[in-house]
């Protein structure tokens, strides 16, 4: 009926009104435009939620563990010779026109835009001011996190703080990004966001004051500003909001999601991405039998051999062939060598899988789409505090925190992982760095640790890392091409 009516109505109307402009005015039918959104409190809620959504994007935290594969804790994995695109990250042979480099860059800036929308548009909305500040704080936390990733990976980057930036821009110095965006954003967030316990049950997982401070500690540690790193780490510890779950293995389990030691996590449920799933766990799931995933991000042989004897964290982080998990025998993939040797008969790799993304009781490949990415954990904050204290000449306090982590890892078994007692600054520093490697493996921390510790060339050189070049990723070639000469490339990438 409506159709028939429109057949009859419009022609007559059109001829009667002559060149009526209203006949030619057709706004989009199925959605609204940016002219009227966000406009009210519900819009503010929706647009803030959307800022979290991109974290599960394939190119940020929803795909391959690119940074971990670049570092020395994970190799490409999966079948021999598959995915040469990804292999190029393991051996640093990628070029500025590599598709992943471009997509990673573009997707991080997509989050910048989505958080800018919240930050720029919310102030004008008439709504509860406290809630508004909280939403803006959440967006600023995410923006700071994303910018921190960008600036660590690429160094000098475009500084974008509005929704409609200039078409071509030059790169701003990294220091400006820290001083004008990352640190002020996190300071705002630290002030306006509630503590973890102050959120209602439905809001668990949103950015918190503790998360903002923990991230600040991470940022300052990266900048080698140890006093500030120590202060923020201490504030998180002293807030009493977090504690170490006594069972280390369960920290990564389903039950352990949003546990006592969880400072910031990206929630996911075992469905498709648009319905809340995250493929990060699936790309690293056991390949073959049982069929839990694609098998990328394989724990490296170097990592396996690096542990102190009988550190239970090793077994809990790595799934070996022949293990039985919840009644399922791990047989692995036929097309992957169980053990790979070098020309001299030394083992260089074995087939194994990342257990931190394993979802216990998994029955199929869809289950690990529900794995929550742990972004910031309390154990990390403790170790950051230890490191900062040590640098600030407080080895005693540093040891307290370091040993808290070791005690939890020990799990009651006093014969392993003895408390550290070293007070020499340089030696203690090494011990703390090693502890980080064992505690925080496969959590996209190792790569950035090596970066701030200045050890990339030393540790990753054998993997193909070129000093003076690979400390930074190349600016994607397409970005350079589109910038009309305003953007320069990182050193030695031409």
């Amino acid at each position: 009926m409506k159709t028939i009516r429109s057949f009859l109505y419009f022609p007559i109307l059109a001829i009667l009104l002559g060149c009526s402009e209203s006949f030619l005015e057709n706004p989009p039918l199925t959605t609204i435009t940016d002219e009227t959104y966000p406009a009210n409190e519900n819009d503010a809620y929706l647009v803030t939620n959307a800022a979290y959504n991109n974290l599960r994007n394939w190119w940020i935290m929803g795909g391959y563990p690119l940074a971990d594969i670049m570092a020395d804790d994970q190799t490409k994995g999966s079948e021999n010779g598959s995915n040469p695109d990804l292999q190029q990250f393991e051996n640093f042979s990628f070029s500025p026109s590599h598709a992943y480099v471009l997509a990673w860059y573009q997707t991080l800036y997509q989050s910048v835009r989505q958080t800018n929308i919240v930050i720029e548009k919310l102030p004008a909305i008439p709504m509860d001011e406290e809630l508004k500040s909280r939403y803006i704080g959440e967006a600023k936390f995410i923006r700071a996190y994303v910018y921190f990733t960008l600036v660590q990976l690429w160094g000098d980057i475009p500084k974008i703080t509005t929704i409609n930036p200039d078409r071509t821009v030059a790169r701003s110095p990294a220091a400006e990004i820290y001083n004008d965006i990352i640190i002020p954003d996190l300071e705002y967030a630290a002030q306006e966001l509630p503590e973890k316990s102050e959120y209602g049950n439905e809001d668990l997982g949103r950015a918190t004051r503790g998360a903002a401070k923990a991230l600040l500690a991470r940022v300052y540690l990266h900048l080698h500003d140890y006093p500030n790193a120590q202060n923020y780490a201490e504030e998180v510890i002293q807030s009493g909001q977090y504690s170490l779950d006594p069972d280390w293995a369960s920290v990564f389990s389903l039950e352990g999601e949003n546990g006592p030691g969880s400072i910031f996590e990206v929630g996911a449920i075992p469905l498709g991405r648009s319905q809340g799933g995250n493929q990060y766990g699936n790309t690293q799931g056991v390949r073959g039998t049982p069929n839990w995933g694609w098998g990328f991000g394989r724990p490296s042989w170097d990592y396996i051999n690096h542990f102190e004897t009988e550190d239970p964290r090793l077994d809990a982080s790595v799934i070996y062939l022949g293990e039985v998990l919840h009644g399922v025998l791990i047989e692995g993939s036929d097309l992957t060598s169980d053990t790979t040797y070098d020309g001299l008969g030394n083992i260089v790799e074995i087939e194994c899988y990342n257990q931190k993304v394993y979802v216990n009781g998994a029955t199929g490949a869809q289950d690990n789409w529900g794995h929550n990415r742990r972004v910031i954990r309390y154990a990390d904050v403790l170790l950051m505090a230890a490191e900062a204290h040590n640098e600030n000449n407080n080895p005693t306090q540093a040891l307290v925190y370091l040993n808290m982590v070791r005690e939890r890892a020990r799990g009651g078994n006093e014969t392993i992982l003895p408390d550290r007692t070293e007070t020499d600054k340089d030696a203690l520093r090494q011990l703390i760095w090693e502890e980080r490697r064992h505690e925080l493996a496969f959590e996209t921390i190792r790569y950035f640790d090596l970066m701030r510790q200045g050890r990339m060339a030393e540790v990753l050189g054998p993997l193909g890392f070129t000093e003076g070049k690979n400390e930074l990723l190349p600016i994607p070639q397409q970005e350079i091409d589109l910038s009309e000469g305003k953007m320069t490339q990182n050193p030695n990438w031409n």
Partner: protein
């Protein structure tokens, strides 16, 4: 607006007054019409020139008509030269009609009217409907290949139901360079619903003067299709045709066999294959593609007319199965064209087509078929699909992919013509384009490998509906007096395009064959899209002929579209043309030149093919996040890809000059045109810089560039009859020169634009000032590094080693960097041509069509995109494997640096093809009249019989969107088709 209305009113009044002053007393004249041998001719059309008043001769050739002294009465009949008699005071006029010279007095359909070929000032080419029936295809455009100068038709896919790409006079834009089709007055973007057998003629409007009547949509050319209709006074004609053809792949791509592949892979990773002699070989192309696939084609039509009505009804059935299993296209089309003469002044009529179609799409297995390891068998010992290395098991993809689409399409119009005051005709026509289509895709549970598996049954269904209407009102004024002839039309049209799409998907069906979303499925997702676009237009044209030899045409169209906003909403499109029929001049007395005409035109036309919502930044939903102790997805919405509120029409500014020559009573005709077209503010989807925050693979439309196309077209025909032998030869050819002349300010980019994304980070096509659109861009290969010394001596990329390519240091800076990429070739041909010949002798007919293109390049994308260890083409056998072995092929690798964009992937795409070969025979009338059959014609035909080309892919025709034009990413194989058929006329 007001100004235009007042101008029209003044013109109208002026003509009106002029006419009214000449009223005189009417008189009836009678007579008889015969041919030169005295046989009476029924059905001869008699009308008063400059009016719509007329009649026809009865079965005895007699007529009677009311005239006013001074009127010119025209007698016209198909195949005979029309005659004009000026009435003074006689009451009886008998006419003897002579068979006409071919060609000159044909009537050509142009926008909103018709014109005699001799009076035409624009560049228009005609193709008769029968010429379209030589190729068994679902799309009538296929048959235009090689027939019209300046038109390039590329059948870029052999998939059943696919439409070819049509380009008229070069490539004038980026976004969508498709011409528009006008079928029964309805302006369309495709003619997939149309049965070629229902087509009477196709006119291709090429220059600005002829396309200006389509204003904002004429920039890419206009193809007007006139469907068949009955003739007044004709007894019914029943026509029945049946055809059966078989398709076969003529050319398989030469890939490595198992042994060759094993040897090659062993070079990369020694020891991968042992015992080469025990390897089994799988020829994947022959495994996957069918050897033959049939096409069936049937139609039945009936047409005729009385004195008050004429009718045409046709039914056609087309069924094509593809060479890739599970691909097919089936169509039933019904056409009804009727016209009723209510009285001498009012005609009403309709042209309607209903078409039901059903299409199955094959899984996209061309790429995986070529990548599959020949050492892997299709099935394992238990008969299950084997986990093929390469890119998955293509047979499994076909088996587990079920994708169909079916629906109804209806196109047509209802019209009424009212003639009044002897010189005016008002026509109102309401046209519709309706489509309702349902798609379904079902995937069962299966497991081949972890990357080729499906854990739960999946079903998705979609329904799209499209309802477009077009209301056109035109007033036609026709006047002739002494040496003056004037034909003018003014009009107003309004148009609305609405569409809505609704789709849903779910998982975990209760039974595989209960394929509805009503079951208790997991995760039912639905989406609903809709859009509306409206247009309003004013149009005007005047054709003036003085003394039958001086021709002038002026055209103007003003369009308003809802797609653009504010100041950019309205566009004005004027054009002018002139012609001179030199051969009609008194002084012209060259005996063998029967026709000589020169003409020229200039005009501006537009292109508005851009997404309806392009100018808006839309809010995107379903961007939720998971929070809470109970881990629930909470909704989220934010801005989608940025819109561009500044977009406006593309404007094509075109000038055309032409000459038409007829020799020896038009047995030999030559038509030549030279044109130059500059298109400004071309709309193009550009990738924005990453810091805009649109994410990966996001594009926004901008008016970004200016492009110039120019060329020379010619069309030569020779036809003659010698006793029982009739022959006809046609040759068409066109040159294409294409150049980008400017980049727009809106984008800020004044260097170049990137196109041709291979999906792996490489962009192999580029747009830059001074070169043709979308030229290929990459490194130039200069040889292969034979040894370390050579490697050290030349600049190279750090990851290159011995045995890898040596690229040319184009900018001579001592390094190989992305700045050393350069122009490698263009996918736009320099010269397109077609040649067809028909010979008829005593009932036998032989027709051959050749076509070809010269000068275009192809980028072999299927070879270049490597994300794993795939099979190779034979050329890898010549790979470098030691110093001095070769200097043109690099060492064997599975991917990596040698697969950067370079001219190693560029191939010459020139080709020459025997497009169709038909041998037919008319059964002798002694046989047919016994069966009451007027004509019985049987034929054998072959299509794509052979193709001469250097390119080693399935076909050298790689069309596609401007962004991907010329990149072969694995096209559905184009086949050779052979068949038989019969045509009966009752």
């Amino acid at each position: 607006m007001k100004r235009i209305r007042s101008i029209f009113t003044l013109l109208f009044l002026w003509f009106f007054c002029g006419i009214v002053l000449q009223a005189q007393e009417p008189v009836t004249i009678t007579g008889r019409v015969t041919d030169e041998s005295g046989i009476r001719l029924p059905g001869v059309s008699i009308y008063i020139k400059g009016t719509q008043q007329g009649t026809i001769t009865d079965l005895d050739g007699n007529y009677s008509i009311g005239v006013t002294p001074g009127d010119i009465v025209v007698f016209s009949f198909v195949g005979f030269t029309a005659q004009e008699i000026q009435v003074s005071d006689q009451t009886e006029i008998n006419i003897e009609m002579a068979e006409m010279l071919i060609g000159v007095d044909e009537v050509v359909v142009i926008g909103y009217g018709t014109v005699k070929k001799s009076d035409l000032t624009g560049s228009v080419s005609s193709v008769k409907g029968d010429d379209l029936l030589k190729i068994p295809s679902s799309s009538a455009e296929q048959a235009l290949q090689g027939k019209v100068a300046g038109v390039r038709v590329t059948s870029n896919s052999g998939a059943p139901g696919s439409s070819p790409t049509v380009r008229i006079r070069g490539v004038g834009t980026f976004g969508n360079p498709d011409p528009i089709f006008v079928v029964d007055g309805v302006i369309l973007d495709d003619i997939t619903f149309l049965n070629a057998a229902d087509i009477e003629s196709i006119e291709v409007l090429k220059d600005a003067s002829s396309t200006a009547m389509y204003g904002s949509r004429g920039a890419n050319g206009v193809i007007i299709i006139t469907t068949k209709s009955g003739t007044l006074g004709e007894k019914s004609i029943i026509n029945l045709t049946a055809g059966y053809d078989l398709q076969t792949i003529r050319h398989y791509i030469a890939m490595l066999n198992a042994r060759e592949f094993a040897q090659t892979v062993n070079k990369i990773t020694p020891g991968t294959f042992n015992n080469l002699d025990l390897l089994e070989n799988t020829d994947w192309q022959r495994e996957v593609y069918r050897t033959v696939a049939p096409i069936q084609n049937y139609q039945l039509s009936i047409s005729g007319g009385g004195s008050k009505a004429r009718y045409y009804a046709g039914v056609g059935y087309f069924n094509q199965e593809g060479v890739i299993p599970k691909s097919f296209y089936e169509r039933l089309s019904i056409k009804v064209n009727n016209e009723y003469l209510m009285n001498d002044f009012i005609h009403i009529g309709h042209n309607l087509t209903f078409s039901l179609f059903d299409q199955g799409s094959a899984a996209n297995v061309v790429a995986s078929t070529l990548r599959a390891w020949p050492t892997d068998p299709p099935y394992d010992e238990e008969g299950n699909f084997y986990g093929i290395r390469g890119n998955g098991n293509p047979l499994a993809s076909i088996e587990y992919n079920n994708n169909t689409r079916d629906g109804l399409r209806s196109v047509g119009n209802f019209y009424a013509d009212v003639s009044f005051l002897r010189h005016f005709t008002f026509r109102s026509s309401f046209g519709i384009d309706l489509e309702y289509a349902d798609g379904k895709s079902f995937t069962p549970v299966f497991f081949v490998t972890p990357q080729q598996q499906n854990e739960e049954t999946r079903l998705s269904k979609d329904r799209t509906s499209r309802e477009n209407w077009l209301w056109e009102n035109t007033l036609n004024f026709n006047f002739e007096r002494n040496a003056h002839y004037l034909d003018a039309v003014i009009g107003y049209t309004a148009q609305k395009f609405s569409s809505e799409g609704f789709s849903g998907s779910g998982r975990n069906l209760i039974r595989d064959d209960i394929q509805y979303l009503s079951n208790d499925l997991t995760d039912i997702l639905i989406s609903n899209s809709a859009s509306v676009k409206t247009m309003v237009s004013y149009l005007f044209r005047a054709n003036y002929v003085f003394r039958g030899r001086y021709l002038l045409t002026a055209t103007f169209r003003r369009d308003g579209s809802s797609v653009f906003s504010g100041d950019n909403r309205w566009g004005n499109f004027p054009s002018f043309a002139a012609g001179w029929r030199v051969s009609e001049e008194g002084f012209f007395d060259v005996p063998f030149i029967s026709n000589l005409k020169i003409r020229g035109s200039w005009g501006i036309v537009g292109n508005d093919k851009v997404d309806t919502n392009e100018r808006f930044t839309l809010i995107q939903s379903e961007l939720g996040a998971v929070f809470g102790v109970n881990e629930t997805l909470y909704p989220g919405s934010t801005y989608g890809t940025s819109g561009n509120p500044l977009i406006r029409w593309e404007e094509a500014n075109q000038a055309n000059g032409g000459i038409e020559i007829g020799l020896m009573k038009n047995k030999l005709t030559l038509e030549m045109d030279y044109y130059q077209k500059v298109t400004k503010d071309i709309l193009i989807d550009l990738p924005l810089p990453g810091h805009f925050g649109n994410g990966s693979f996001a594009y926004v439309a901008f008016n970004a560039a200016d492009v110039k196309n120019r060329g020379l077209e010619f069309n030569i025909s020779w036809r003659d009859t010698r006793g029982n032998l009739f022959y006809e030869v046609n040759a068409v050819g066109s040159t294409v020169y294409n150049e980008v002349i400017k980049m727009g300010e809106q984008t800020g980019a004044d260097n170049f634009l990137l196109l041709g994304s291979l999906g792996n980070g490489q962009n192999v096509k580029r747009v830059a000032v001074g070169e043709s659109i979308g030229y290929f861009y990459g490194y130039k290969v200069d040889g292969v590094f034979q040894n370390q010394t050579e490697l050290d001596a030349y600049p190279h990329i750090s990851t290159q080693g011995v045995g890898d390519f040596r690229y040319v240091d184009v900018n001579k800076d001592g390094e190989i960097t992305p700045d050393d990429r350069t122009y490698l070739g263009s996918p736009i041909p320099d010269f397109i041509f077609g040649l067809d010949a028909t010979v008829r002798y005593k009932g036998f007919t032989l027709a051959v069509d050749f076509q070809g293109e010269l000068g275009q390049e192809i980028y072999d994308g299927k070879d270049a995109i490597r994300a794993g260890q795939y099979n190779y083409q034979k050329r890898i056998l010549d790979a470098w494997d030691g110093e001095g072995s070769t200097n043109s092929e690099p060492r064997v690798t599975a991917g990596g640096i040698n697969y950067s964009e370079s001219d190693w992937f560029i191939h010459n795409g020139s080709f020459f093809r025997l497009r169709s070969l038909t041998l037919g025979y008319d059964l002798p009338s002694s046989l047919t009249t016994k069966l009451k059959i007027e004509r019985a014609h049987v034929f054998l035909r072959g299509t794509n019989v052979f193709t001469l080309t250097e390119y080693a892919g399935y076909t050298p025709e790689i069309g596609g969107s401007v962004r991907m034009n010329g990149i072969d990413t694995g096209v559905y194989p184009v086949t050779s088709v052979y068949g038989i058929g019969i045509n009966l006329t009752f």
